[in-house]
């Protein structure tokens, strides 16, 4: 393995050590002191369908205010075959208004994409998506995607 492992990216190391992509996500989500995940967890979260981002427009202002960056998450729901029912559409619409920034993006890979979800709302958002019989598993990260 020696020489080939050296060429692997850092993310592969995180994945290897992650106990099958669990990492410390539970602890990160329960941490009430920050809106962010632990650094390694930001890589692992992608496999569960969410991406950590922050509002760049307020970075400098918040630095002066001694506040951490305004962390928010993008959540993606993969839609098998690109087909969603009216019920699922309404559910996504409701979730987007309630937990995200009120917008829905449809991607070229036929996924729903929500933005501006804060950490403590991740659980409700993903649960809502699951309840509509869509899911976020393997919607980001180095996994296969829908092909158009």
């Amino acid at each position: 393995m020696g020489s080939s492992e050296r060429q692997l990216s850092a993310v592969e190391g995180i994945k290897l050590r992650s106990d099958y992509l669990r990492g410390t996500l539970l602890r990160s989500l329960a941490d009430t002191a920050t809106g962010a995940l632990a650094e390694d967890d930001t890589q692992l979260s992608k496999f569960h369908g969410f991406y950590q981002q922050d509002d760049r427009d307020h970075r400098e202002e918040r630095r002066k205010q001694k506040l951490e960056p305004d962390h928010q998450f993008m959540i993606r729901a993969r839609v098998p075959g690109g087909i969603c029912t009216p019920f699922q559409w309404l559910a996504m619409d409701d979730i987007a208004r309630r937990w995200a920034n009120g917008t829905i993006r449809l991607t070229t890979r036929q996924a729903f994409q929500l933005h501006g979800v804060i950490k403590r709302n991740l659980k409700s958002t993903i649960r809502g998506i699951n309840d509509s019989l869509l899911d976020t598993i393997a919607a980001c990260g180095d996994v296969n995607r829908n092909v158009m």
Binding site: T32, A33, T34, G35, H58, E61, R62, R63, K64, Q65, K66, L67, E68, D70, I118, R120
Partner: protein, 619 residues
């Protein structure tokens, strides 16, 4: 005998004092006298082993032997009480009296039983609560085991604030408790409002006069006697060049808002330079800040009262124009019950008087907190035939008082600076938004380069332990985080200097995590570097059910129990209401973990407080 040692009345550091107190506290008077002779002998190169001098042997029975010592006791959270007590000590010594000045916490039952002449300075906090230093004595005096005190003659000076309904209640209670045990007052109790200085000076003079008439001046003692050592310790003047009456003009270096966009709170981080002042403070202390009333508000009040801004008046403290008087010398933003009553009488506004008198305690408090004088004048204007002149205004309004802020920095980290965490105080009684005088001054009127009058208010009841290994739990809400930032800065500096710092745990509450975790980046950085073991946020409005720090305390019962097993100290800082809720939660934790009844848990909590393991800074 080492209780009287303080960092500000001796050449020792806090740490050395603690070591002296632990190492030598158990010595009896003869042993102490021998030791004192031993050390003196070493210093002058004499033989180390000295025979007991006669004066010392005689003094072994203590200064109370002839009942000639005037004992002065103080108990106050802010240090004002101590200042008054030490001033009295100085004056009494100047008058040739034997005097001893001590914290009221040193007045244990055996001392009390022999006490003959005493003066007490005691403040009142919150809703009539006595300061921590008085709690043990109050408990003892109210208990069936309290001794009779017929031999005691005393006088009380009570410090208070007339904007609270239970004005000077602790002073009154102390007097009643002592009277109930047969003690007698040698003169009437004095109750002081926030402008305590004139009354305190008069009281001091009178107590010294009582001492001169009733306590024979002591014969000149030999310098080596413990008696003279004790009185020496009690009256060495504080190094403080700057105080309430003579504040230092600190330069503003930075005023930075630290609550995020859309936050319901308006909190600022204020950095002041103390360069050249020699002002010293410890993490846990407060900073007194003098803030003038804003010109706009002064003009509005003068206009409402039809008083000319340029009209002049001569008062005991000098000659002022009306504008100057209201800007720098009178309280406009904090109302008191007396101001309301006096204003109603002069303004001939019977409605206001009956309205106010008919309220219950809680409504009256709300009425006072939600209103400024200008609101009162506009809501209840002077009636036909009432004449309200500048003299009335000067009399009705209380003198302007400084505001205290828990210091948010450690000198070990910021050198000659002092940092404050200031939340703007808002009220709106009649549809016009108003701001508190000092929070508005610091957050919205001052700019870098401006000057502000400040002085240190020591708070020895809220300090880091000398033992570097004791784990610390910091519980606070809102600006209550300020002293914890000071503590943590100190611990960080200590870690760099000596390589060790205790485990600390912050439990912090405010409305929203996103905008209101004050100094969040610094706390996360400390946690990242292992200087803070744990942080729990209680962000009340981030979920449907309100969540406060006391909820975290209950949820974390087991962990808190484990920390307490490791001798942890618990600090609580923030509003009185939060403090009560946290103490109740801690009682529940103790009851649950130890299988105690509610009464046992309350007693357990009192025991923690007595041991100095539960420390509070509530306002």
């Amino acid at each position: 005998m080492f209780e009287a040692l303080k960092a500000n009345n001796s050449p020792f550091t806090e740490l050395q004092i603690q070591q002296l107190q632990t190492g030598l506290g158990g010595l009896d008077a003869v042993q102490s006298a021998w030791l004192s002779g031993f050390i003196a002998g070493r210093l002058t190169g004499q033989s180390a082993v000295l025979p007991l001098p006669e004066a010392v042997a005689g003094a072994a029975q203590g200064p109370d032997r002839k009942g000639k010592t005037l004992h002065v006791f103080f108990a106050s959270q802010t240090g004002n009480g101590e200042e008054i007590a030490r001033e009295l000590g100085k004056e009494a010594e100047r008058a040739g009296l034997a005097v001893e000045v001590q914290s009221l916490s040193a007045l244990r039952p055996p001392v009390l039983k022999k006490l003959e002449h005493a003066a007490f300075v005691i403040s009142t906090h919150g809703e009539g609560d006595p300061p921590d230093d008085a709690l043990d004595l109050f408990e003892y005096l109210a208990s069936p085991r309290a001794a009779r005190l017929e031999q005691l003659r005393f006088r009380v000076l009570a410090l208070g604030d007339r904007s609270y309904s239970q004005f000077c209640a602790a002073g009154r209670k102390l007097e009643n408790l002592l009277l109930a045990q047969g003690a007698g007052t040698f003169a009437e109790r004095i109750e002081c409002d926030i402008d305590f200085q004139p009354a305190a000076t008069a009281w001091t003079t009178e107590v010294v006069r009582y001492g001169q008439q009733n306590l024979a001046p002591e014969e000149s003692p030999t310098p080596a006697s413990p008696l003279s050592v004790a009185s020496h310790l009690s009256v060495v003047p504080q190094v403080a060049r700057w105080n309430r009456a003579r504040p230092f003009a600190a330069t503003v270096e930075r005023v930075q808002k630290i609550t995020g966009l859309e936050s319901p709170k308006d909190v600022y981080h204020v950095e002041l330079s103390l360069q050249g002042s020699g002002l010293e403070y410890h993490p846990g202390d407060a900073l007194g800040v003098w803030a003038p009333n804003p010109h706009g508000l002064v003009d509005e009040v003068l206009n409402d009262l039809h008083v000319d801004a340029g009209e002049e008046i001569t008062l005991a403290d000098g000659h002022h124009t009306a504008h100057e008087l209201l800007t720098r010398h009178r309280e406009l933003t904090r109302l008191s019950a007396d101001t309301i009553r006096d204003y109603a009488l002069v303004a001939k506004n019977a409605d206001l008087l009956s309205h106010f008198e008919e309220m219950d305690e809680a409504d009256r408090r709300g009425f006072l907190e939600q209103r400024q004088f200008v609101d009162l004048v506009q809501e209840f204007p002077a009636r036909q035939g009432a004449h309200l002149g500048l003299e009335d205004v000067a009399r009705i309004l209380r003198p302007l008082a400084p505001r205290s802020y828990s210091i948010a920095s450690s000198p070990a980290s910021v050198a000659e600076e002092v940092h404050l965490t200031v939340a703007t105080l808002f009220s709106n009684a009649i549809g016009t938004p108003r701001r508190g005088v000092a929070s508005d001054f610091l957050n919205h009127r001052l700019q870098a380069g401006d000057e502000v009058g400040v002085f240190v208010e020591p708070n020895r009841r809220f300090r880091l332990p000398a033992d570097r290994k004791i784990p610390l739990i910091f519980i606070g809400a809102g600006t209550g985080i300020a002293p914890y930032r000071a503590f943590q800065q100190q611990l960080e500096a200590q870690k760099e200097a000596v390589g060790e710092s205790p485990a600390t745990w912050l439990i912090f509450g405010n409305p929203h995590l996103r905008t209101d975790f004050l100094y969040q980046r610094e706390w996360l950085d400390w946690r990242q570097r292992g200087l803070v073991a744990r942080i729990d946020g209680a962000f009340s409005r981030d979920q449907a059910e309100k969540r406060y720090v006391q909820h975290v305390v209950r949820e974390q019962a087991e962990r808190i129990g484990r920390w307490l097993d490791k001798e942890a100290r618990i600090y609580i800082c923030g509003s009185l209401a939060m403090g009560h809720a946290v103490e109740q939660a801690l009682c529940d934790v103790l009851a649950q973990r130890r299988g105690w009844s509610a009464e046992q848990a309350a007693a357990g909590l009192s025991e923690l407080r007595r041991q100095g393991r539960l420390l509070k800074d509530l306002y």
